[in-house]
């Protein structure tokens, strides 16, 4: 449809009477890193979850890599996508969670192999090789046979990033990937994310790490109360916020 990697138009989402997203637009070009910032409860996680259809929308459209997410349009009528095709869409979208959500009954290596072998139908040997390479890339090859409970938060999050990368995603979604970490562990995860960005991965990152946003982000989006209040380059928004709500929030976190 366009050359955007991710495009969201007028996304609305309610839980019962509570309207959490009230018309969100977003455009992410291939290879770009967009940082999404906003106060707690502003709908950031919900928006990310809409992007890979973990939540269904009340209104709006989302395209990832040119495909309409979750639906198909035939003769002007919207149809819910069959599960098989929705799964193929999700496989192209990597997701990293605040609380890691590694599979606790599997070792680091098995966690990373899970996607390739279950979803891509890769052979055991190939999946193991791929998983080994990815763990190496996030600096976790010496811990590949540890269970998640035996890893620090930062190590778990790096394994979780490797697990998402194992599906060769076109875009990576990060939901506050460092908020559950002790301060001294934040750097190792941000380091891996910086490397990813430098390799040209398209990324949507919900974060409170303004240093990361300034250094790595191409775009900066400030959300509050289910709407995008302000957007621009990180330098512009962080340096001279145009909106009073943005300024008030940034003065608290900076």
């Amino acid at each position: 449809m366009t050359s955007s990697m991710v495009r969201a138009l007028g996304v609305r989402k309610s839980f019962g009477d509570l309207e959490v997203l009230r018309g969100i637009d977003l455009d992410v070009a291939p290879g770009q890193v967009v940082c999404v910032v906003g106060p707690s409860g502003s709908g950031k996680s919900t928006f990310l979850r809409c992007l890979n259809h973990l939540e269904t929308l009340q209104a709006g459209r989302i395209w990832v890599d040119g495909d309409l997410v979750g639906y198909e349009e035939r003769n002007g009528q919207l149809h819910v996508l069959p599960e098989k095709r929705l799964r193929a869409q999700r496989a192209k979208i990597g997701m990293v969670f605040q609380r890691f959500h590694l599979f606790p009954h599997k070792t680091a290596l098995d966690n990373v192999m899970e996607g390739p072998s279950a979803v891509r139908g890769m052979s055991g040997a190939d999946a193991r090789e791929l998983a080994g390479d990815l763990l190496d890339r996030v600096g976790m090859s010496d811990r590949s046979h540890h269970y998640p409970a035996q890893l620090s938060g930062g190590q778990q999050q790096r394994v979780a990033i490797a697990r998402a990368l194992a599906m060769s995603p076109k875009v990576m979604l990060f939901d506050e990937p460092t908020s559950a970490l002790d301060p001294e562990l934040v750097g190792e995860v941000l380091g891996v994310m910086k490397d990813l960005a430098a390799d040209g991965m398209t990324m949507v990152v919900v974060t409170h790490e303004m240093g990361f946003a300034r250094e790595v982000g191409h775009d900066f989006v400030f959300m509050d109360d289910g709407v995008v209040v302000e957007r621009g380059t990180p330098a512009d928004v962080l340096g001279a916020p145009q909106h009073e709500r943005t300024a008030a929030f940034l003065s608290k976190v900076l």
């Binding site: 890979n52 599960e83 999700r90 959500h101 590694l102 009954h105 599997k106 899970e114 979803v119 697990r163």
Partner: protein
């Protein structure tokens, strides 16, 4: 002792290891003594009691009829548990289903089979021929029939026992499975979905293995319970261990000796099952580093019976 100076060097420090004596605890010693005495006395009266006929116990422990009953009990337990677990998983998934019809059907099943005594259910199944004299395969609502059997020929004591035990067990297992499925962090499901897994894969590869950790211990207890609950089928001529024991002592009047024979077999089976449970739990505890010592597992299972009936 006077408080030593903190600044003193390591060599200067007084010996600080703790090697303290305890104030006397006479209550504990008296309690232990009395208990030991009571146990010894109990053992002694049992050992020397002429009414217990230990020689008969020895004679009958491996008596062929007893062993046949033992085999029936094992079959009843294993088959009822396997069918019960399958029914339980099905009913649990129905309980968690988005379909109201499914949830209603599951709720009705649990309500009925947990709300009536197992003994009543067993007698009911045994007498099912009073309601349905024939069983047939064909088109429902009075349509043509392909094959017909007489109910009494199919629902023998053994089959009635299996029906009663497994359908009842399914209702209890359903609650255990549901609790297990719900114990898994919803984030696990989302992480699996976001990789592109299908519903079935999410369930089989991610949710169930984690739910098993919660499901296995009470299921083990159910299994051990079932070994003993099978004795209820003696009321419907189930040919299990207790039934054959009763038949024997009605002939030779060695009531107590034969009940001891049966009890020894029940203890052997429950103990073996406890040991098995230990290893299964260890398997599903991978990655969590928790484990109950084998010895306390055995005694715990033998003493606590959280069952119904």
């Amino acid at each position: 002792m006077a408080q030593p100076d903190i600044a003193s060097t390591v060599e200067d420090r007084p010996d600080l290891t703790i090697d303290a004596t305890h104030p006397p605890r006479p209550g504990r010693w008296i309690g232990a003594g009395l208990t030991a005495f009571a146990l010894f006395w109990l053992g002694w009266t049992i050992a020397v009691n002429p009414n217990l006929h230990w020689d008969v116990v020895v004679d009958y422990q491996f008596y062929p009829v007893i062993l046949e009953g033992l085999w029936v009990t094992i079959q009843l337990t294993v088959i009822s548990m396997v069918v019960g677990v399958a029914l339980g998983i099905t009913a649990a998934l129905m309980q968690l289903s988005e379909s109201r019809v499914m949830r209603f059907a599951a709720a009705a099943y649990l309500w009925f089979f947990r709300g009536t005594p197992l003994l009543v259910q067993l007698i009911f199944w045994f007498n099912i021929a009073l309601i349905f004299t024939e069983l047939s395969i064909g088109v429902p609502f009075g349509g043509p029939k392909l094959a017909t059997w007489e109910t009494n020929a199919i629902v023998t004591g053994f089959v009635a026992a299996l029906l009663g035990l497994s359908i009842n067990e399914g209702a209890y297992m359903s609650e255990i499975v549901r609790a297990g499925l719900q114990s898994v962090d919803p984030g696990q499901r989302e992480a699996a979905q976001s990789l592109g897994m299908s519903r079935v894969q999410v369930m089989r590869r991610v949710v169930l293995p984690q739910a098993m950790r919660v499901i296995i211990p009470p299921t083990g207890n159910q299994f051990i319970s079932m070994l003993k609950t099978t004795s209820l089928v003696s009321v419907i001529a189930g040919a299990d261990l207790l039934t054959v024991t009763q038949r024997l002592y009605l002939e030779n009047f060695e009531v107590i000796a034969l009940l001891i024979v049966a009890s020894i077999w029940y203890l052997v089976m429950t103990t073996l099952a406890s040991i098995g449970q230990h290893f299964v739990e260890k398997h599903y505890g991978r990655g969590y580093g928790t484990s109950v010592p084998l010895r306390s597992r055995i005694t715990r299972n033998l003493t606590i019976d959280r069952r119904k009936s």
